[in-house]
Chain length 295, copies 2
């Protein structure tokens, strides 16, 4: 069957994948999620892994985005340079099977010594712009393992920078001297806000991280507060950098709701209002728009 019957949109990441069956009118007719991220698939295993998707969701064309196009994915799909919007992304799609199985490219940006890359968020951001969830000139903060600060100009991604906030927190939580302090779930409570304030106002991240442990050992702060404070601290430092990079403008936080909630709370501490956008909805919108451009 061709695109007229709809298609399957796949957000294929490092550790999991989500697939959506999109009907002819753009309606979501089905979806599935599993842990078959690219790191769980061998080089020759992507064909069968895709066949499992069409078997489950239906025999439709596929449009895939995310790490599936990285050097560890199915076919390395070259980064498209900024500024780039839906048209540039559509033109950069790599067709594994002509007109039938496409991989959306990632984006790259550089200026002088600075350089950055993105894979996956671009489909969401373009979807949010094209479906008017965010205005064509705005700032998007996209938290995840790696938080992205994105400047949108005239509906295209003009520039972006990545901050390793989520990954650093996970490393500290899993493998560091702070591990026994960071097990608690992170909530935007007063300890989180205190961390945000410190991280946003002060430039001493790698020192303050050790203070988290020292204050607990000396009985100057409660063990239970360490996880929220540390998350806040890292996000506060992230905002100091990101707001400096992104500048003024309407601000949107896009991604998984539990993360956009934390960042929105942190932005409020930093004195900036932000609207939250569900990343999944934005992704589906982006896939539908890209499909319209290439079908």
């Amino acid at each position: 069957m061709g695109w007229a019957e709809g298609f399957i949109a796949v957000d294929w990441g490092t550790t999991n994948r989500r697939a959506y069956l999109i009907g002819p009118g753009g309606e979501r007719q089905g979806e599935m999620e599993d842990e078959l991220g690219i790191l769980s698939v061998t080089k020759g295993g992507f064909g069968p892994a895709v066949a499992a998707l069409t078997e489950r969701l239906g025999d439709r064309p596929l449009l895939m985005a995310g790490m599936i196009g990285s050097n560890r994915g199915w076919v390395e799909t070259p980064y498209v340079p900024c500024p780039a919007g839906a048209a540039e992304l559509a033109a950069g799609i790599h067709w594994v099977e002509a007109g039938r199985i496409g991989i959306v490219p990632g984006l790259c940006w550089s200026q002088g010594d600075e350089a950055d890359v993105m894979r996956g968020e671009e489909a969401q951001i373009v979807g949010a712009v094209e479906s008017a969830m965010v205005p064509p000139d705005s700032i998007v903060c996209h938290p995840g393992t790696h938080n992205k600060w994105v400047r949108l100009e005239a509906g295209r991604i003009a520039a972006f920078r990545t901050v390793m906030t989520g990954e650093i927190f996970n490393l500290l939580k899993s493998h560091s001297i702070l591990t026994d302090l960071l097990a608690a779930e992170v909530r935007p409570d007063s300890a989180f806000e205190a961390g945000v304030r410190h991280g946003f106002e002060r430039d001493d991240l790698t020192a303050e991280l050790f203070s988290v442990r020292a204050r607990t050992l000396l009985g100057k702060s409660a063990r239970e507060e360490a996880a929220c404070y540390t998350s806040g601290l890292l996000i506060g430092a992230d905002l100091r950098f990101g707001l400096g990079f992104a500048g003024e403008g309407a601000l949107f936080v896009m991604g998984r709701p539990e993360l956009t909630g934390l960042y929105a709370a942190a932005l409020a501490v930093a004195g900036r209002a932000a609207r939250e956008i569900d990343g999944e909805e934005a992704f589906v919108a982006g896939a539908i728009h890209l499909a319209e451009l290439v079908r």
Copy 2:
């Protein structure tokens, strides 16, 4: 045998221990090192672990410093508050066996919301002061898993702060998206110096860490440079914080020679001269001085 025949000084850390047989005149008569750090010893195993030392080096009194006095060590020995020098450390020694097996306490410091702790470095620093390796008013930078910035005033440790530089580098090297880039041995080469300059001058550590990967992916910098650059970046940020904390004054870098060499090179990039002090020599000097105070 008593202290008149000499003693055994033990620097007992998290992952290894070093022991020195010190003769009556302060001469090193023997030494041993093994990987029996505190994490490798069960709670009831410290007695036998010490017996193995005296069996090897001789039946002498023992003076031990480092993580052996932590809450994961043999007996938790309370931190002594700053300012503290040799006299305060000697007074804080916990005697597991009276006058025979002593654990040197760590130090703590706090001011307002800031707090810090140290275990192990204090014995080296006091040794360096008492044996005139460093003047009584000076600044000591003590790199390791956790780098310590120490202000010495009138021969005592007045204040100090810890920066998690070494641990963060190790986490990135072992478990992160940068792992495949950070395998090379770190040397103070031009990539290292470029990293130091960036880290020292700019406040964007968690963003610049991702740029290391992005620049490599985009062919804007060589893979071989990533380890040295990243180490330099973290050390540069460490210096920006530490020199701000420590202020002006004669500067000494103490610890393992491969680390003091890197920090001295980084300090030169930051425009500060520093003399390197061998941490092992300083430790032995500290143990000898403390033994004289308590024997």
